[in-house]
């Protein structure tokens, strides 16, 4: 391709040829990453290199926010602080209740000689950023391998299941939210105990592959069933908002809304489940 201003008989590659070379490299990377998942090390390296910059920019963010016109008012901060405190207390109360439930549950399990499910530790992590990706619903957390976070661990907030850690870096982690289209959670309808699968649907969630005659109605709460050994049983996931039973399809159309503040919470809890701990090789606690 002739570009004006270029010497006529140059030995260097023309821009089009160079673009082609770089494009081939890019496509090779895309194939390696998307099909073979072989570039985790490169990702982790880049994240580690730019983590300090991200932190440095976040620190004076209040100032930057004012400059760029996003005025954060004092009152808004105060109300948010109050709300966070309240949520914190709620979370504390819920955790306390969880504790008692767990001990009670353990006793019961021991009685019926069931597979013993130990409790789980949790790490609180703040949302560092929300990547702009039209293909998925994800958030980045400010803690990673340094706090014991591993890929596969469930993430909750005070109100319910938020998602799952899909990539863990040294100082950060990527969480795929339950509303992501590619995300499925095995759940139970709390009222009837029936096991179903709930999928992400962009902003809400939906239950798929449910026969039309199934007993499910708006207002039903879906909790994790625990059969996948990823999510501990009993975590609140979603609430059914609408049930349609089309005559032309064998399946009911069930829309749900996540119970957790999937796009509102800023502090999330990563649960170190027994499953993940076992993979890590940590000694099992009695």
């Amino acid at each position: 391709m002739a570009t004006p201003g270029q010497p006529m008989f140059t030995r260097a590659l023309g821009p089009a040829a160079r673009l082609a070379l770089w494009s081939i490299l890019a496509i090779a990377l895309i194939v390696l990453d998307a099909r073979f998942n072989a570039l985790g090390w490169l990702r982790a390296g880049v994240v580690a290199v730019f983590y300090p910059a991200q932190l440095a920019v976040r620190a004076p963010f209040d100032f930057a926010a004012e400059v760029s016109g996003f005025l954060v008012r004092h009152r808004a901060l105060q109300t948010e602080n109050a709300a966070l405190r309240e949520r914190n207390q709620q979370a504390g109360a819920q955790l306390a209740r969880l504790d008692t439930l767990r001990t009670e549950n353990e006793e019961l399990r021991r009685l019926v000689v069931l597979r013993q499910m130990t409790g789980y530790d949790s790490v609180a992590a703040e949302i560092l950023s929300t990547p702009r990706d039209p293909f998925s619903q994800r958030v980045m957390l400010d803690k990673g391998g340094n706090a014991g976070i591993q890929a596969g661990q469930p993430v909750v907030d005070g109100m319910g299941l938020v998602g799952q850690v899909t990539r863990a870096y040294a100082f950060g982690a990527e969480v795929t939210l339950v509303t992501d289209r590619g995300h499925a959670v095995p759940v139970q309808i709390q009222r009837t105990g029936q096991r179903v699968l709930v999928f992400g649907g962009g902003s809400g969630m939906e239950v798929r592959y449910l026969p039309t005659h199934t007993d499910i109605q708006p207002g039903d709460i879906l909790v994790t069933s625990g059969i996948d050994r990823v999510y501990p049983a009993g975590l609140v996931v979603a609430k059914v908002t609408r049930v349609q039973r089309p005559t032309d399809s064998p399946y009911a159309r069930v829309s749900c809304l996540p119970m957790a503040g999937v796009d509102k919470s800023r502090v999330l809890m990563v649960l170190k489940t027994q499953h993940a701990a076992a993979r890590q090789g940590a000694p099992e606690q009695p």
Binding site: A16, A26, I27, L29, S129
Partner: protein
């Protein structure tokens, strides 16, 4: 100097020029690190891409594809998308701007911005389509919105680049 016919700005000294390029790209990168949310996130122009395209147009030798590729990779990692998606898009953007370099230099800022818009749109579409092919269907068409905001940013950046202070460096 004749301001009606904007000619190529006089070349500034090479080492200094690279310092300015590096600083501007760093600034663009840092701007991107601000935790953008909600509408601001949707409308946030890709600062790094705009700076890259600006320098690709402004420097007679353009910007190397390697630099565009590397910056694209960083964007890929930070957005958590498939590696190579933005790298490819940035390279295509730089190529297009360099191809139309002389043509762009002929226009006034307003017309330049109007010429940049389709280039930005095409760059976004390249990123979108590669993501689409390599992963899955997007959840909304609002990604294109950044082509508009990016055009406005280009205008601002090109205007700043034409100011006397930037010339006499």
């Amino acid at each position: 100097m004749n301001f009606d016919m904007p000619s190529f700005p006089p070349r500034i000294e090479l080492r200094q020029e690279w310092r300015v390029i590096g600083l501007s790209l760093l600034l663009a990168f840092l701007l991107k690190q601000i935790p953008w949310q909600g509408w601001a996130l949707l409308l946030r122009p890709d600062f790094v891409l705009i700076m890259l395209l600006f320098w690709a147009q402004r420097r007679q030798d353009g910007i190397s594809f390697g630099l565009a590729f590397a910056l694209g990779l960083v964007t890929d990692v930070q957005d958590g998308v498939v590696l190579g998606q933005h790298a490819l898009a940035y390279c295509v953007g730089v190529f297009l701007v360099q191809h139309f370099q002389r043509r762009l230099a002929m226009f006034t800022l307003r017309h330049q911005a109007m010429q940049i818009f389709p280039l930005l749109l095409l760059t976004e579409v390249v990123a979108l389509v590669t993501g689409w092919i390599s992963t899955r269907t997007p959840q909304g068409g609002w990604v294109i919105a950044t082509a508009f905001t990016g055009t406005l940013l280009w205008w601002a950046v090109a205007y700043a680049g034409k100011m006397p202070a930037a010339r006499s460096e």
